[in-house]
Symmetry: C2
Subunit: 352 residues, 2 copies
């Protein structure tokens, strides 16, 4: 699992710190277009697969049963910031499935949105499970269980039908088998299966291209992706990278961050999915890598990522955060590659 260096941080004339990792860019048919590092090793995708975990919510009919439209589907695909808009929508999703926030098994943390966190400190309000960045995903899982007549207790266990259904979707989209020995427990207590980055990238390419799947799955993939593009503010939150990029490039970039330095996403106009993992779990490097990747096709996105020029507390420039030679070479291979697949926005289900 020692991967090449992808990102270097300089101070003065020297490299001070570095981040290794692996990146896969893959077509919907599984063909690897460009890669660096070990993209076959089992890798925990963490929250980067939330858009895939939301597919059964639509596919089972649960979303339609409870009147969940694009906002609710976006929140089910989200690592949200816990703003008032996020928590109110999560509460509403639970209410429409006749559940209370007590049903949430995600745990509690302070809102990721600094302004909301500060306001709660000022007002003396304590965070609740609704503020957990995964509460929308959990509300979607619970609603699916209610719709299917399954128990809501233990919906987070690997053997609960809600999780078994998600595992089947992951296996079908990524073309790999998920066995108990690659199953870990995620930060919000639901199972998270380690998968090859190549498989994760293929899964996102297939979501974007909607190739080789049932009609019902095609509709579900389209509704999930379009929900993220229609409501990027619900997928993350104010100032966060996923929100900023998808607000500017709806239909062009699908992206989702995961803990421990993971990103998954798709570039539908190019027929490509991508997945990356920073070995050390560093968020700054994961964001720098994904912005470089997207920036090869949309250079104007580079300014949304972490700063390239590093400044200290007084604003003095102290160094740079830059791609390594190995990562630059991979990006150049990617740029030289001819476009794969067509534009899914021309496909029939997108014209409805």
């Amino acid at each position: 699992m020692r991967n090449p260096v992808l990102i270097e941080l300089t101070r003065g004339a020297l490299v001070e710190s570095l981040h290794a990792g692996a990146v896969a860019v893959v077509r919907a048919d599984g063909g690897i277009v460009a890669a660096v590092g070990d993209v076959a090793a089992p890798t925990f995708p963490r929250s980067a697969i939330k858009p895939l975990q939301a597919i059964p919510l639509v596919e089972t009919g649960a979303a339609d049963r409870f009147g969940f439209g694009p906002p609710e589907i976006a929140l089910a695909s989200a690592s949200h910031s816990g703003t008032q808009a996020h928590t109110a929508l999560a509460r509403s999703m639970l209410g429409r499935a006749d559940l209370s926030p007590d049903a949430l098994a995600c745990g509690v943390h302070e809102p990721l949105d600094p302004a909301t966190a500060r306001e709660m400190i000022r007002s003396g309000a304590a965070p609740t499970p609704l503020h957990h960045n995964c509460s929308g995903k959990h509300a979607g899982m619970l609603a699916t269980a209610v719709h299917k007549g399954e128990p809501t207790d233990g919906y987070w266990r690997p053997d609960h039908p809600v999780q078994v259904r998600i595992a089947r979707v992951l296996e079908e989209l990524a073309g790999c088998r998920l066995s108990p020995d690659v199953c870990g427990t995620d930060g919000c207590s639901v199972p998270n299966w380690a998968m090859p980055l190549s498989g994760l990238a293929q899964a996102f390419a297939r979501v974007a291209m909607r190739e080789g799947m049932s009609a019902a799955r095609r509709v579900a993939c389209r509704r999930v992706a379009e929900a993220c593009w229609a409501h990027p503010d619900l997928v993350a939150g104010p100032g966060r990278l996923d929100t900023l990029v998808m607000a500017r490039l709806p239909g062009t970039v699908l992206m989702k961050a995961g803990a421990e330095g993971v990103y998954c996403g798709a570039l539908p106009e190019r027929g490509l999915g991508f997945a990356l993992k920073i070995d050390d779990g560093g968020k700054r490097a994961a964001e720098a890598v994904v912005v470089q990747l997207i920036g090869r096709f949309h250079p104007e996105m580079a300014s949304l990522g972490p700063p390239v020029q590093l400044a200290n507390w007084r604003g003095v420039e102290v160094g740079q955060m830059r791609p390594s030679t190995a990562f630059e070479a991979m990006l150049e291979r990617l740029q030289r590659h001819p476009r794969a697949g067509g534009d899914p926005r021309n496909s029939p289900e997108c014209k409805t």
Copy 2:
């Protein structure tokens, strides 16, 4: 600069993330007792050398001139948490040198102490340069300039006598030459020179053992180390690792964290200094490594470091943070090594 893996984080049955790095454990004479990774590469020590940067404050007579005792010397060696006790003492140091907080060039950030930060949010107070974790170090630098009749303007520039004096101390203690091409700008705007981990470890061993130096330097080294041991609460802050360990093992462990995954310190009873750097700058790994290192001789310290059993937001155990095989092997070599040097607490200047 690719170093061996030192720390692995597991999830379920798999390794999810890992941190590479280098560690040097060195005697005061420069002999390497145990090492892993490249300990000769130039490495920015960042705040881990604050106790060395405080030596001229004592050695020049500035501390005595302004009545700085152990609390002030500890704060000059600190990355403090910005509590009321820290900011009041930094303000008092400046006042005794007839300066105001306006003289500080460190910049501004919120207090590192969460309780103080929350209280300031509640009361609507804005952070000032006094809250910057380096304000005590800067107050010490400014006081030294005043004492020596040097301009206080630009005290943070690499060519200011205050910084030149510090560079000489670093060169003499670490046995290396500091040239402009290894000079970077630190987070608080003062120069930070990249040095081999072996040299940094030797410097800390010499501070602890006070060997091969002038009488004035010996006194300064003793006063700095004893200040950190007498006031570990001023060197960091509530709940922080340096404070917790030095409060329990004064005279036995000297330690100081630096940004980007650095630690320096000494084990005087064993005649050893140490220095470590995590390649990716990860704090969790730097703390895990230093606790493993100290824990070989003081197993009761292990519980003060980051948790070995990793739990999620609901308290469910999800994995472990553990030393790698390479780091374990280095720790075993260290443990087999006979004690180097004597106990400095038996030396004459400690009995005064």
